[in-house]
Every structure is written in C-alpha cells, then in structure tokens.
C-alpha cells in the first residue's frame, strides 16, 4: 500500500503526460502481482466499493483528537481526507508494536467483502498502520475519488509500455480482462501468450482523422474521397454481441474505450432490437446526438447528458439520445475493418436499413466533384442538405474511398475540415505560470471583454486559454506579462488592462454556452489564442453583448461537469 500511495502522491504533482507514464510503468515493473494489477484497476476506475462517507471519517478523527486542534488544522489544510491523514495520531500500542502496513491487495479484498458495521474499526486499524501518504491514499481509495489527473487510457498505455506493446492491443483485450490482470501482466512480461478476449461485445480501437490544411488539397484528388458531415456530438462505438449463454450484450464505448453504456440506457434497447431469429452481432462507429422531433440539437444540449451517474426518466425524455452511424466495423462473424471504406459503407447502409430502428440512422454522404464544391458546402451546410441541423454541423469529413479502418490517426486516410471557429478580440487580464517545460513562463491567460454596469465601463473575464501561440509568441507574451504586472495574488499576476494599455488577443473558440458559474454568464468551448493583436488598443476589443448574441437561444442550464476529454468528445 505504501508503494501505491507513493505512486499516487507523485502522480498528483506531476503535470506531464509522458512523465506520468514513466512513473506508472516503473511502478508496474517494481511491484509484484496482485498489487500492481489492483493498482491498475484503481487507476482505470475498475474497482468499486461501498464507499466510506466523509461523516464516518469525521467520526473517526473526532475519537482520536481534540476538536479545537482538528478545527484549526482543517481550516488550515482545507481538505478533510488530507487533514485526517496528516494529523492522525497513532496510539502508544501501535507505536510500540509498529505493525506492518497493509498491502494494496489486503485493502482491496477487505473493502470488497466488509460489512458496514465493521468499516470504522477496519479503517481505524489501517490508519494506525500506514504513514501520512499511505493514509491519504487509503482515504482517497475508500471515498472513491482518486482525482490525480490520470485517465484509464493513460494507465493502460503505461501497462502496455511495460512490455513494449501497442496500447491499442491492451485496449482490444481490456473488456475481456478482470482485476488483478495476472494474464495481462504475464503477457506483457513475455511469460505467457496474449490473453484471448472472450468479451462478446469488445471495443475496437478507433480510427481518427487529421485536420486538413489549405496546402494539403493540392496533393489530393477529389475523386479519391467521399465526404460527409462532421457532427458536433460524441464519437462513440456501439457494439452488440451474444455471450456464452446466448444473451445479447450491448455496449457503448467512448472513443478512448471507456464503457459509457450506463449513461445512455435509453439507447441500449436499440442495440438489441434485431429480430432474434436473424440476430447478428455488430460494431458501429458513429456519433451520439440529441434529437428532438428529428432535429439535431446543439452540443450544449447534448452536454446535459454527459458524465451523469444517474440518468433520470425526465432527462431521457427531454434529451432523447440518438446514434448517427458513420461506419460498420463488424457484422456477424465478419471483421470488416480491412475492407475499403466504400465497401464498408455499402454494408452499413444495408445494415442500418435492415435494423430499421428510429434511434439509429446513417450519416448522409455529400455529393461533390471538386474541392471548390465541398468548400461551398462546408461554408454553408444548410442548403447543402443539413437544413435545420446546420447548427450541429462542425465541418466536413473527407475519407479516402479505399481506406481500411486503421487504429489511431493514420496518415492521409481521413481528414477533418472544421468550419471556421468563432473569433473575438479580448483583453489579457490575468496570467499564471504553466507547468513542466513551461514552468517558468506565464502561459495561462485569463481574458475579458468590455461591458457596462453600475461601475461604468469595465472588462469582465470570459475565458482562459493556454495554447494556440508559438514558442516565439509565448516569449513575447511572457515578457509583456512581467513588464506590465499591476498586482500579484499568489501565483496570479494581474496584467494591465485599461482602455489604452494592455494586450489584445484574437481568441478562437468552437461554441458558447450560458454559464451561471462565470461572472460574464457565458462559457466558451475550446478557447485558444488565435492571433496576437499588438496593434490593437484594448478599447477596440469586443463587448459582452457581441458574445451574448452568439449564444444559441436554446441553450439550457449549466451542465454539472463539462469533462469532454474524459468522455472523448470531439
């Protein structure tokens, strides 16, 4: 447990992805089974206990410490688990006997079987046996929130690196594996054959597209490509199969392979809906969308359905989920991924027609004979067939007619061509240092636009951006920040932002939503620095009213958690 705790501790401070990978892989190398497998389970969210509530932890510490000292400490530290981990006083008995700390497997197996009444006593024993970091990790584990910035995908990639394997291979096997993953580690260490994925509805690594640049078109022949809309939803894989007992298993995977079926119970019946006598397993690559009266709703509406632990009937009724199919990866016993796209597309069309389910349809293909034609379609999707759904079109996809379905982002096969982003001119207000290679640079920027209120004309923050600029531009902005700081609050520098003094950014972003959490009332999607407007005085930057006009009228309330990376939105 102590080694696992050290790993979590280190990961919690490490900002760099590659460095996180190194830390996790090195842990897997040095730790024996079954502990390392349980660690992998913890990092991928594959463990589930009846979690201890914060109230129980408060009770435990209250039995051991002076309430005034606890209150002063909690006030200082600001986090319950951490306060308890740090101030937990060991009894004299424990100090004398110095019992060994539990292993991770002891903790996990005990937690899995332990009844509620035994929980306090067991937790107390472990808190006595562990050191500060160990107690902190234990409390994170039992309260069910690691929150150390490690995705399931990253943990699996780290496992793959242990055996120099392709992370996609691990991803492929994953649904058939279970903690503590002894067969996986045996394979990774070259001690056994590759485990066989017996999962009836496995995930297949997703094929992704490159963003196309103007200069790319010169080398591409339009006749080699098909085109379709790029929908602004959630890219998913819908898989249906039959298990050993003949039961149909239906699953939805995010594009990173996370099983997100439980968030969309209203779609699962459609994946099982074939006539039993003609049932065929399948895997569809497609987009999750919310449709109301067969109209595609904006991403802001879809967002209401993301990252929900419980899905209420009301939510399902008001935000009906829909699958729009792009590709067919398997049908029956046939793996279609090696076929050219056009052949898969023909199979897909026939399959969707036979499925005949109102919640599943096919993404239409776009007719074009030249790059000019598709340029026009992208610029104005509505008359080109998107009609009222144009709002939900994020751009167009160009796919080579002969492209096989390859995992990852293979060169030259698929291209995405997004619609031009929205742009505003905003004023740099605050700056913070970045991490890792940017650790000394002011590279996180909060920017604002003008508004008028009781206090008169002033700037209100509307977003934060930390990419979009070149290294050279970063140096210049960094220098500007250092020379024009008016105040510092901890790590935050207030940068001069007056009508005639300050730095204007042209900020690009993908969409806007209403947000009661932001002072300005709006939240941007994927904001980034598009251009530096050294030439423009701040007084000429945009106004909040301009942003408000851009808001889609139909946006609903603020979603509970916008975590697009976790669910794999694109």
């Amino acid at each position: 447990m102590n080694r696992f705790a050290e790993l979590l501790d280190r990961l919690a401070y490490e900002p760099g992805r590659n460095n996180k990978l190194r830390l996790i892989t090195s842990y897997f190398r040095e730790t024996a089974d079954p502990d390392r497998g349980l660690a992998l389970a913890a990092l991928t969210g594959a463990l589930s206990f009846k979690y201890a509530k914060p109230a129980l932890i408060r009770d435990l510490i209250a039995m051991r410490t002076d309430p005034v000292l606890f209150a002063l400490s909690y006030d200082y530290v600001g986090d319950l688990s951490e306060t308890v981990a740090l101030m937990w006083p060991k009894t004299d008995d424990v100090l004398r006997n110095n019992p060994p700390p539990p292993t991770l497997s002891e903790v996990v197996s005990t937690l899995t079987t332990l009844g509620k009444t035994d929980m306090p006593q067991q937790l107390t024993r472990w808190l006595d046996e562990l050191d500060e970091t160990g107690r902190w990790a234990l409390l994170k584990l039992v309260t069910g929130s690691l929150r150390i910035g490690v995705s399931a995908r990253l943990a699996k990639t780290a496992a793959a690196a242990l055996g120099d394997k392709d992370p996609h291979d691990v991803e492929l096997l994953w649904p058939g594996l279970a903690p503590p993953y002894l067969d996986l580690f045996a394979w990774l260490e070259g001690r056994a054959e590759k485990p066989v994925n017996l999962d009836p509805a496995p995930f297949r690594p997703v094929m992704l597209a490159h963003a196309i640049e103007e200069s790319d078109f010169a080398h591409l022949n339009p006749a080699d490509f098909t085109a379709e809309w790029k929908w602004d939803g959630i890219r998913i894989q819908a898989v249906s199969g039959r298990d050993a007992d003949g039961e149909i298993v239906a699953r939805l995977y995010s594009r990173t392979g996370e099983d997100i079926s439980q968030s969309f119970p209203d779609l699962l019946p459609s994946l099982r809906s074939q006539n039993p006598s003609q049932y065929k397993p399948f895997a569809i690559d497609g987009e999750l969308l919310v449709l109301r009266e067969s109209r595609v709703q904006s991403f802001n509406v879809l967002q209401q359905r993301l990252n929900r632990k419980t899905v209420t009937p009301k939510l399902m009724k008001e935000h009906p989920i829909h699958l729009r199919a792009y590709d067919l990866l398997s049908e029956g016993d046939d793996d279609l991924r090696t076929l050219p796209f056009t052949e898969r597309r023909a199979r897909l069309e026939a399959f969707i027609a036979r499925l005949d389910d109102p919640r599943i349809d096919i993404s239409p293909q776009l007719e074009f004979d030249s790059w000019d034609a598709i340029t026009a379609i992208r610029a104005d999707p509505a008359p080109a067939g998107a009609g009222e759904d144009a709002q939900a079109v994020e751009g167009v996809m160009l796919k080579r007619r002969d492209s096989a379905y390859l995992p990852g982002r293979p060169k030259g096969q698929w291209w995405k061509w997004k619609r031009d982003p929205r742009l505003i001119d905003a004023v740099l207000m605050y700056a913070q240092r970045g991490h890792g290679k940017r650790s000394s640079y002011y590279s996180d920027y909060t920017f604002g636009v003008w508004t008028r209120d009781d206090e008169g004309e002033r700037l209100v923050p509307v977003g934060k951006a930390y990419f979009g600029f070149t290294d050279e531009e970063l140096l210049k902005i960094d220098r500007f920040v250092r020379r024009h700081t008016t105040e510092t609050f901890g790590p935050v520098r207030h940068v001069v932002h007056e009508a005639d003094k300050g730095l204007v950014f042209e900020v690009a972003f993908e969409g806007l939503a209403r947000s009661p959490r932001h002072k300005s009332g709006v939240a941007m999607r994927f904001p980034r620095i598009h251009r530096l407007r050294w030439d423009k005085p701040p007084r000429e930057a945009d106004r909040l009213e301009t942003l408000e006009k851009m808001l889609v009228t139909e946006t609903a309330t603020e979603p509970t958690a916008i975590d697009e990376a976790a669910i794999g939105a694109h």
């Binding site: 050290e6 280190r10 919690a12 401070y13 490490e14 900002p15 460095n19 190194r22 830390l23 090195s26 410490t65 002076d66 005034v68 000292l69 002063l72 400490s73 200082y76 530290v77 600001g78 986090d79 951490e82 306060t83 740090l86 101030m87 006083p89 050191d131 500060e132 240092r433 991490h435 890792g436 290679k437 650790s439 000394s440 250092r482 020379r483 901890g490 790590p491």
Partner: protein
C-alpha cells in the same frame, strides 16, 4: 521578579529591561542578543551584538564587516553577565551556530529558543533541552498536521526521481542558509557522490559551512554550464529562483522544494512544485510539544507561527500559555533570498 518584568515584547522585539538588551531585534538597538543568522532574526545596524561565532560570521558575510558597532562571540555552554541578568548560550539545532539564549534574573530562568528543531541534522550541533521556568517557543509548524517525516526518506524520493528521469534536471528549492547545506549533507549520506550544482546566491554561505568543517562533497556553480550537461544532475537554488526565468537554463526541470510546508498539498501546488520534499529546520508538532514538556517550564510563551493551536494545547496540559505578539519574524522558506528578488533579474538569461 515576574517573568514579564525580565523579558517584554515591544516594537523593536523582545526587550530585556534589567539586562539592557533586545533578543533578535527587528529594528536597530544599542545592544542585541541574536539567536541565529536568518535575516529576520539577525539584522544589521545594532550598536553591540552578542551571538555565536558562526552567527557573527554569517552576518558579516551577508551585511559586510561593519554590520554592527561592536561584536562579542559566545560559545555553547558559556555565560555572560549583562546588567542585572546572566545570559547563557545553548545549541538550538536549527542551523549552524543557532542558539537558545537562557536569561536568568533573580532565580527566574527564561529560555528564548529562537527557531529550533529536535530532528537529526549533520550540519549543526544538536538541540539541547534547557530546564527553565518560562520557555519561549516558536510555532512555525504549530498544528498537529505538521509531522515531518524522516528527512533521509525525503532525500531518497529525490534520488529515485533523478534515477527515473535521467534526461531532466532536478532543481531543489532550499533556503540558502542551513536548509541547502543540510539537504546536500543528506544527499551525500544517501551515497550520491556526483557533483551537486549551486545557484550563485548560495556559494558564499555554503563555502562557509565547508570552512567550519561540514563536508559537502563536490560542489560546483551552475553558472556557465551548458544546458544539455545539466541533464541528470541536482541543483540547489533559493526557493524563489526555482519558479523563474533562471530555470530556463535547465533541461525540462523537475521542480522540488525542501520545506516543512510541503506537507500540505495545496502549498506545494500553489508553488507549482512537482516534487515536494518535507524537510524542515523547524520542530514539527510532536517536536514542539515534546520540547515544551522536557523543559519543565510552567509557563509557555508562543511566538511566530500558528500560536493558537499551541497555546490551546498547553492550556489543556495545565500550563500557563500565551501568545507573544511579536512582529517581523517569518519563515525563511517564504522569504526571498535572492539579492533584489528573482524578478529583479528581468532581462533574459544569458
């Protein structure tokens, strides 16, 4: 005589009226008794200064030879008569030359311990318990969440990280006086004998430690080193320097910070620290309460830090305790040790 008639807080610091001096005065005074060389305790411009040889030398290094009118060195275990009181000097275990000053007057003994720690430190004389009637204690880490782990274990974390990331530089923020030399000594004790690099601001004081017989191994200045050659190395720097322009000379640096504050995650995160090392030159909570008990003092005066919790603890143990409202003392880890401040080096690094 009542203790508060012997020592009394005032605007210049803790004043001893019957002895005619101040302890660690924050403003220039005629006679100063100084516990140790950190800049919030040892300031220039006093008429006469009484301190250990090491503390006097450090003040001269920092402020120049004329930092005071006259100086007088006092050794551990030695006493001097000042006015109506006797002052004796005892090791505080905080940094090289740090002392507790015991002030005795009319049968009452008050120990002003300055900053102290009871943990192992190969670079200074270990802390000594001085029995007394009134014990004046610091409370920098005066909350029970502060329990400093074994410093050797923290240094092991650093060395493990150096082994795991051989292509990156490890940059350890450590206060220039005391903490840096202790960290170096601990790194050496862990068996690491490669060169250790230093920020220029640390050179003088570190060389002074070596002169006083503290072996620190192969030390080199980081200035003039090629970026690529710093991969896999350890460099010590003042805490403020590890977050600024100066770090650009290092390949993908891992930023560490050796401080008791690193016990609390939010403190480490606010500073952008990737590798927090909980190494402190102050007593932790257990050290504070154990020391208070060991002195046998019936009355405890608590200064700079988290006074509330420590005063509360003393009261629950039946001790008379009160916070001593002294201003002007900080924790050295939170103060800037780079002359002029790191941000004063505004120009691009060479």
């Amino acid at each position: 005589m009542r203790p508060q008639d012997i020592l009394k807080p005032g605007p210049s610091g803790l004043a001893c009226l019957p002895g005619g001096f101040h302890i660690d005065p924050v403003r220039p005074v005629d006679r100063a008794v100084i516990t140790h060389g950190h800049s919030d305790h040892a300031r220039p411009g006093h008429g006469a200064v009484l301190a250990t040889r090491e503390t006097l030398d450090m003040m001269a290094l920092r402020y120049g030879e004329n930092f005071a009118g006259t100086t007088q060195a006092i050794a551990y275990g030695e006493s001097v008569r000042l006015g109506d009181v006797t002052v004796s000097c005892h090791p505080a275990g905080h940094v090289l030359g740090s002392a507790q000053m015991a002030v005795t007057c009319g049968g009452t003994c008050i120990v002003a311990s300055g900053d102290y720690k009871d943990a192992y430190d190969p670079t200074c004389t270990p802390f000594e318990v001085v029995p007394c009637d009134v014990f004046i204690t610091e409370a920098t880490f005066g909350l029970p969440v502060f329990r400093h782990p074994d410093a050797a274990h923290e240094v092991r974390k650093l060395l493990d990280s150096v082994a795991l990331f051989p292509e990156r530089a490890h940059l350890v923020g450590a206060y220039s006086l005391g903490k840096a030399q202790r960290v170096i000594a601990l790194i050496r004790a862990a068996g690491y004998d490669a060169p250790i690099y230093l920020h220029g601001a640390m050179e003088k004081i570190t060389r002074y430690y070596e002169q006083r017989g503290v072996p620190l191994g192969d030390l080199r200045m980081v200035k003039g080193m090629k970026k690529a050659d710093l991969a896999g190395t350890i460099t010590l720097a003042p805490p403020s320097a590890t977050a600024d322009l100066w770090t650009r000379r290092f390949p993908d640096p891992v930023t560490a910070f050796a401080s008791g504050w690193m016990r609390v995650r939010a403190r480490a995160r606010q500073r952008g620290i990737e590798l927090p090392l909980v190494i402190s030159d102050h007593a932790d909570w257990d050290g504070l309460v154990a020391t208070i008990g060991a002195t046998g003092a019936g009355e405890i005066w608590v200064t700079h830090g988290q006074e509330d919790a420590l005063v509360h603890w003393c009261q629950t143990k039946g001790l008379v305790a009160r916070p001593l409202a002294l201003v002007g003392y900080g924790d050295e880890d939170e103060t800037d040790d780079v002359p002029g401040g790191a941000d004063a080096q505004e120009s691009e690094p060479a």
